[in-house]
Amino acid sequence: MTKITHAHGTGGQYTHDLIKNVFVRHFNNAQLNALLDSAILTAPSRQLVFTTDAHVVQPRFFPGGDIGRLAVAGTINDLAVCGARPLWLSAAFIIEEGFDLDELEKIVSSMQTTASTAGVSIVTGDTKVVNKGEADGVFITTAGIGIKLYSQPLGPARMAPGDSILISGYIGDHAAAIIKARQLFDIDLSVESDCAPLNSLTELLCSRLATIKIMRDPTRGGVATTLNEFVAGGTCGIRIYEDKLPVRSAVLGLCEPLGFDPLYLANEGKLIIVVSSAESDVCLDLLRSHPLGKHAAIIGEVVAQPSGRVLLRTTIGSNRVLEMLTGEMLPRIC
């Protein structure tokens, strides 16, 4: 079994072999294959959208995904929710000395599979090797460039009372899969991470809807935190209905004994969309017509008062304020 050593990070022959045998072989596209210091890209005459994201996850392989898929989908989704079509990605790897080369190759292959599904090329990259103990296996940073498709500006300021809030499917799957994969709790649970590039879904919505106000993928901090970001400092509030939220029974089954709330669990392949109420039904139909939106639902609406707050109407008919995630979610002790 070949291990990554410092020689792979020196910039010498080993580095070149690693680039050629792993990265170029899998990512395989004209810009990367040229092996220049930068990728030379021709931008269409549109607004460019640019983002970056660093990825660290334990375990690196989990039901429904791995760190490679996460690193590619994460950056694609950041572009997609801005109404953009992602085109090019960069990928930088910080690898711990002694890392298994086969595992690296599995990760790189998964990145390419994810990127090609999304129609994206990984056109430039970098590798550094650090001493054993100075990194936890592998850290991956990706950056992405896309072109803006949606002609309207998107953002919280565009929201107005009466707008509808939709989610593209079950919430909390990713966090639940990770919690399960860490094997910290002996809970019988079958759930896969929802980790997926959302750009085909957002592109469908952008092409058919005229009144999208904002879109976001509710990753860390979950749906509750994303909705709070929408209203923070603004003139509107949000009301959502607990009984409208799509949550798998397996995820609830994990949350109940541990005292977790699915509204705060991370997602890696879900979309929250705010649209005018006039288009909410069309939006719901479009979402449900797409494989990534089969379980979509309208979960609430934008309200005038109280501004800056997210209200939850509980299943039992009471109201409470839904805060951002504070601190870490830890299981209850008794």
Partner: protein, 365 residues
């Protein structure tokens, strides 16, 4: 499982119980104490006060294990963590509790080997993996957690492990409830008794409260319907002028409790005085590791003499624990003290009263 829970969150059933509570509620104010932090969380998360008449006042009690742990214990753990041969293993919440001079989290940032565990058996596994280190598990919690820690000690004894010990701050509930009654600082009219604790102990442990103090007790679960039904049953007892122990949580709590867990707990621990945050030292309210297992007692293995613990100036966690004050009455609440940087233990745990108020008790205009 979820269908099973749904019934306990059915809005029609909730309304029906709420109607019955309103129909029989006394006109004079009554104070009911929910002892367990889990119940406090249910009450706030589901906005149960919304369903109650103004005369029924719910008071949070000393039932969050992190919250009741005294600063002297945190100080002991922080001092132990400075010794390079030691690995401190703890439930995650404990890391953030500020002691007299600092928290375990700040000790960790300064280089101490402090690890988060989800179970005492995980700490045992760390000890097995690191024979060159001494592993100290921070044992906190009530009758619910103590049997687990006891079984970890029994297993360590069975394996002949010499590098595993427990710093025990385990506590038992009834003496603390008695201390609150006897202090007489608040006029209590009944107890909502902790479901998880009682699943281990059995509901009999509250008999003395009904008999000697004429206060109704209802053991209940953690769903909104459970808690409302407990309130209804307490209101019924108060109206009838009787005081007895009722078990609403029959799906988990059996008469006599869990005999096996009690036996394991008794094998390893014996009752001892314990210091509670806010309540002071209460006789017979703690669980000390028996002499027979002293090789697994961190206090015996690593004796320390520390300066007396000091509380954060201005923090009223102690008064909150006794039910005398609510978090918004604290000058630090929301201003300086927040879940991200807690000044007191009650802001740390998800089931701490201050954290619950912070998260759920925003006025809805």
């Amino acid at each position: 499982m979820i269908r099973y829970l749904d019934e306990y969150r059915d809005p029609r059933l909730i309304e029906a119980i709420a109607d019955r509570i309103r129909a029989i509620a006394p006109t004079h104010p009554i104070n009911l104490m929910e002892v367990c932090g889990g119940h406090t969380l249910t009450i706030f998360k589901y906005g149960l006060k919304h369903f109650l008449p103004a005369s029924i006042n719910l008071i949070s009690g000393p039932g969050c294990p992190v919250c009741v742990t005294d600063n002297s214990y945190i100080d002991y753990a922080v001092a132990l963590s400075a010794r390079p041969e030691l690995i401190i293993a703890s439930f995650g919440d404990m890391l953030r509790v500020p002691g007299s001079t600092g928290s375990l989290q700040s000790a960790k940032a300064d280089g101490a080997d402090v690890r988060i565990c989800y179970s005492p058996l995980e700490a045992l596994a760390i000890a097995e993996m690191h024979p060159e280190h001494q592993v100290v598990f921070l044992g906190i919690g009530f009758e619910t957690t103590a049997p687990l820690v006891a079984s970890a000690i029994l297993r360590a004894a069975e394996y002949g492990l010499t590098n595993f010990s427990v710093l025990s701050a385990h506590k038992v509930m009834p003496p603390a409830m008695q201390a609150i009654i006897q202090a007489g600082e608040i006029a209590l009219h009944g107890f909502i008794c902790p479901g998880h604790v009682t699943a281990i102990t059995g509901p009999e442990i509250y008999e003395f409260i009904a008999r000697d103090h004429h206060l109704p007790c209802v053991v209940t679960g953690f769903e909104p319907l459970d808690v409302l039904e407990a309130i209804l049953r307490l209101a019924e007892q108060i109206r009838a002028g009787i005081a007895k122990v009722e078990n609403q949580y029959r799906r988990a709590v059996k008469p006599g409790g869990n005999a096996q867990a009690q036996a394991i707990m008794r094998e390893v621990f014996e009752p001892a005085p314990a210091t509670w945050r806010g309540l002071g030292t209460i006789p017979q309210s703690g669980l000390r590791i028996r002499d027979q297992y002293r090789d697994f007692c961190a206090e015996t293995k690593f004796p320390l003499t520390l300066e007396p613990a000091v509380d954060q100036p201005g923090c009223i966690c102690g008064d909150v624990m006794r039910g005398l004050k609510t978090p918004p009455e604290c000058p630090l609440f929301r201003t300086i003290c927040q879940p991200e940087h807690p000044c007191g233990a009650c802001m740390v745990s998800a089931e701490g009263t201050c954290a619950t108020y912070f998260k759920y008790h925003q006025s809805i205009p």
